[in-house]
C-alpha cells in the first residue's frame, strides 16, 4: 500500500495549481489585530434599506420557504427586465432572456462554463476582481490579461486588446466600473471595443455590478451598442446598488440560447437562488430607486474626500469614475504594494489591500475602499498621512 494516495493527491491539478486569493491571506493578518480601521472591504457599509429587509421578513412570515423556478421567480424576472430597461436601456424578455443567480459570481462562473471549450482564450483587463482568472481556469479556458494604466484612468481601449488577439480568442470580459481601480469607459471606448468584438467574433461578458455607482459620467452598457446584444452576456446584481451582498443576488441577461446554456449548469448545481433573497429583490427593484440615489450621493462625497486626501499626502490618485474604490499609486515611496500594506497595517493599524491582490499589474498600487463610514475614512487618512510623511 506504499503508493496509496494522500489527500493532496486527490485534488485536481488545475485546482491545486491555482493560487489562493491574496485577499484571504491579508484577511488572516487583519483579523488578528485590534483597533484596525479597514479600507479593505469590498461591500457597502450601509445595511440593506429597511423596506427591502421588511419584504424578506414578510415573505418568511408568509411561508416563502420553497424552491422557485430554476430561472428565478417570474415576478422577479419581470422586475429585472423592467429595471434593466429603465436603467441601462436594454430590452430583455423575462421569459427566456433573464436568469437569476446566486450573486454575480455565480453568473460569471456559469457564463464561463457555458461558453468555454478547453484551450479557448478569454481576454480580461487587469487589475481586476480576484475571481476572473480562476473562474476561466476552472472552465479550462486560458486567461489572457490586458493591463490597464493610471495614465489613461484604467480604461480599456481597442488598441490595448488588439495585441493579444489570436485565433483562439473567444471571450472578452469587461468590468466597468472596475473593482479595484474605479475606472470607467467612455462611449467612444466602448464603441471601439464593440467594433473589435464584431470583427473578431468575440463574445463579451459584461460584469456591470457597479454600474449604479457611476458618478458624473454617462452610463452606457456595451450590450446597447449596435450589433452587441447578440454577442453580450450582461451581468448585474443587487449587492452593490442596494447594499444586499449577503442576499447573494445576481442575474444574467442574454439571448435565449445563452441563457438556456447557463440555466442548465445552474439547474444541476445551484437549482435556484434562495427564495427570500428573490422576494427582497422584487421589493428593491420595484420600490428602491431612491435608495440607490441616496447611497450614490453618500459615496460621491467620500470619493472626493479620499481622492483629495490621498493626493494631498503625496500618493497620486486618479478620481475614480465609478464603484467605491480609490486606487492610489504608492510607487514613489519606494515600497512594493505588499510592503506598503503590511507596514501601514503594523505601524498605523490601517488596512488597505495591496494592488497585487488584483493581478501582477496592480503592483505599485493600493486599493482603498470608501464604502466606509466618513469618520473612519477621516481617521484612516490622518494615519496614512502620518505614515507616508515618516517614510
Amino acid at each position: 500500500m506504499s503508493d496509496s494516495k494522500s489527500p493532496r493527491d486527490f485534488v485536481a491539478s488545475h485546482v491545486s495549481g491555482m493560487p489562493r486569493s491574496g485577499i484571504r491571506d491579508f484577511f488572516g493578518l487583519v483579523s488578528e489585530r485590534e483597533g484596525v480601521i479597514s479600507l479593505s472591504i469590498g461591500e457597502p457599509d450601509f445595511v440593506t434599506p429597511w423596506h427591502i429587509r421588511e419584504a424578506a421578513i414578510w415573505a418568511l412570515e408568509h411561508g416563502a420557504t420553497s424552491y422557485t423556478s430554476n430561472l428565478g421567480m417570474m415576478r422577479l424576472r419581470r422586475a429585472i427586465a423592467s429595471y434593466v430597461k429603465r436603467s441601462h436601456g436594454l430590452a430583455y424578455d423575462p421569459v427566456d432572456e433573464v436568469l437569476v443567480t446566486v450573486g454575480v459570481s455565480e453568473a460569471l462562473d456559469l457564463a464561463m462554463r457555458a461558453i468555454i471549450e478547453p484551450g479557448d482564450e478569454v481576454i480580461y483587463h487587469e487589475p481586476c476582481y480576484v475571481s476572473y482568472s480562476p473562474v476561466i481556469t476552472l472552465a479550462f479556458g486560458t486567461p489572457v490579461p490586458v493591463s490597464t494604466k493610471r495614465e489613461t484612468g484604467f480604461r480599456l481601449r481597442r488598441e490595448d486588446i488588439e495585441p493579444v488577439l489570436t485565433e483562439k480568442s473567444k471571450v472578452l470580459v469587461l468590468n466597468f466600473p472596475t473593482n479595484p481601480t474605479g475606472g470607467i469607459l467612455t462611449r467612444e471606448d466602448l464603441g471601439g471595443i464593440a467594433a473589435l468584438a464584431c470583427e473578431h467574433d468575440l463574445l463579451v461578458i459584461s460584469d456591470e455590478v457597479y454600474s449604479e455607482l457611476t458618478y458624473e459620467a454617462e452610463r452606457v452598457s456595451i450590450a446597447s451598442l449596435p450589433g452587441m446584444r447578440e454577442r453580450t452576456i450582461f451581468l448585474n446584481g443587487l449587492s452593490k446598488a442596494w447594499a444586499m451582498t449577503g442576499f447573494r443576488m445576481g442575474y444574467a441577461c442574454a439571448p435565449p440560447v445563452l441563457v438556456e446554456a447557463m440555466m442548465k449548469i445552474h439547474q444541476y448545481s445551484m437549482l435556484c437562488a434562495p427564495i427570500l433573497s428573490q422576494e427582497a429583490s422584487v421589493e428593491a427593484l420595484k420600490n428602491g430607486d431612491s435608495d440607490v440615489v441616496e447611497m450614490r450621493e453618500a459615496y460621491d462625497l467620500r470619493r472626493h474626500y479620499i481622492h483629495k486626501s490621498l493626493n494631498d499626502m503625496g500618493l497620486p490618485c486618479h478620481l475614480p469614475g465609478g464603484a467605491f474604490y480609490a486606487f492610489p499609486c504608492i510607487g514613489d515611496t519606494g515600497l512594493t504594494s505588499h510592503d506598503f500594506s503590511m507596514r501601514l497595517l503594523e505601524e498605523e493599524n490601517v488596512a488597505c489591500v495591496p494592488g497585487t491582490a488584483f493581478g501582477p499589474s496592480g503592483e505599485g498600487y493600493l486599493r482603498c475602499s470608501y464604502a466606509t463610514a466618513m469618520d473612519e475614512i477621516e481617521q484612516a487618512m490622518e494615519r496614512m498621512q502620518r505614515f507616508v510623511s515618516a517614510l
Binding site: 486569493s21 485577499i23 491579508f26 484577511f27 487583519v30 483579523s31 484596525v36 479597514s38 479593505s40 472591504i41 469590498g42 461591500e43 457599509d45 445595511v47 476582481y129 480576484v130 475571481s131 473593482n179 450621493e297 462625497l301 467620500r302 472626493h304 474626500y305 483629495k308 486626501s309 488596512a351 489591500v353 466618513m374 477621516e378
Partner: protein, 159 residues
C-alpha cells in the same frame, strides 16, 4: 436640496475643512455659504438630538390637537403665531383633517402642561377645543433612532 445643507442637517458638527473636501469646494466657499444660509434664516439654529429618556430629568412632552376659528383676512396665522410664542411650545403645525393646529408642548411636570393648556391655550379667543396626548416613550426623533442596536459586524477584508 443643496448638498451642503443636507450634510449639515445630518451632522451640524462637520468641520468646514471636511465639508470642503467632500464637496470639492474651497474651505472659504463653504464658510461663506454657511454664513449666507444663517443670515437668510435658512439655517435657523443648531442643536443636539438628545435621548431624554436616558436622563433622569423632569420633563413631560405632550401633543395637543387644537381646533380654532379662522379669521377673515388672516386665516389661522394670527392665532397660530400667538400660540407659538409660548416658551412651552416646542413645535407647531397647521394640519389638514379633523383639527387645525398640532402643538408639541414641553413642561417640567404633568401639572405644568395641564395648567398651560387649561389656563393659557384654551382661553385664547378663537380656540374652540383642545385634545391633549401625553408622550410616554420616544422611539425615534427627527429621523434618529433612540435605541442603539448592536450592529452586525462586517468582515474586515472582502474582495
Amino acid at each position: 436640496m443643496d448638498k451642503l445643507l443636507k450634510l449639515l442637517q445630518e451632522n451640524a458638527l462637520e468641520t468646514p475643512e471636511n465639508l470642503a473636501k467632500m464637496l470639492d469646494l474651497s474651505v472659504e466657499d463653504v464658510k461663506a455659504q454657511i454664513a449666507a444660509y444663517e443670515q437668510k434664516g435658512i439655517i435657523c439654529g443648531y442643536r443636539a438630538i438628545v435621548n431624554e429618556d436616558q436622563l433622569d430629568i423632569d420633563k413631560v412632552r405632550a401633543v395637543i390637537e387644537v381646533k380654532i376659528t379662522p379669521e377673515r383676512g388672516g386665516g389661522y396665522d394670527r392665532i397660530a403665531s400667538r400660540i407659538s410664542r409660548f416658551e412651552q411650545v416646542d413645535s407647531l403645525f397647521l394640519m389638514s383633517g379633523t383639527y387645525d393646529l398640532l402643538v408639541f408642548v414641553v413642561g417640567r411636570t404633568l401639572h405644568e402642561v395641564a395648567t398651560f393648556v387649561n389656563e393659557q391655550l384654551a382661553t385664547i379667543a378663537g380656540v374652540l377645543s383642545t385634545t391633549t396626548h401625553f408622550s410616554l416613550k420616544t422611539y425615534k426623533d427627527q429621523g434618529v433612532l433612540m435605541k442603539i442596536e448592536d450592529d452586525h459586524e462586517r468582515l474586515k477584508v472582502t474582495p
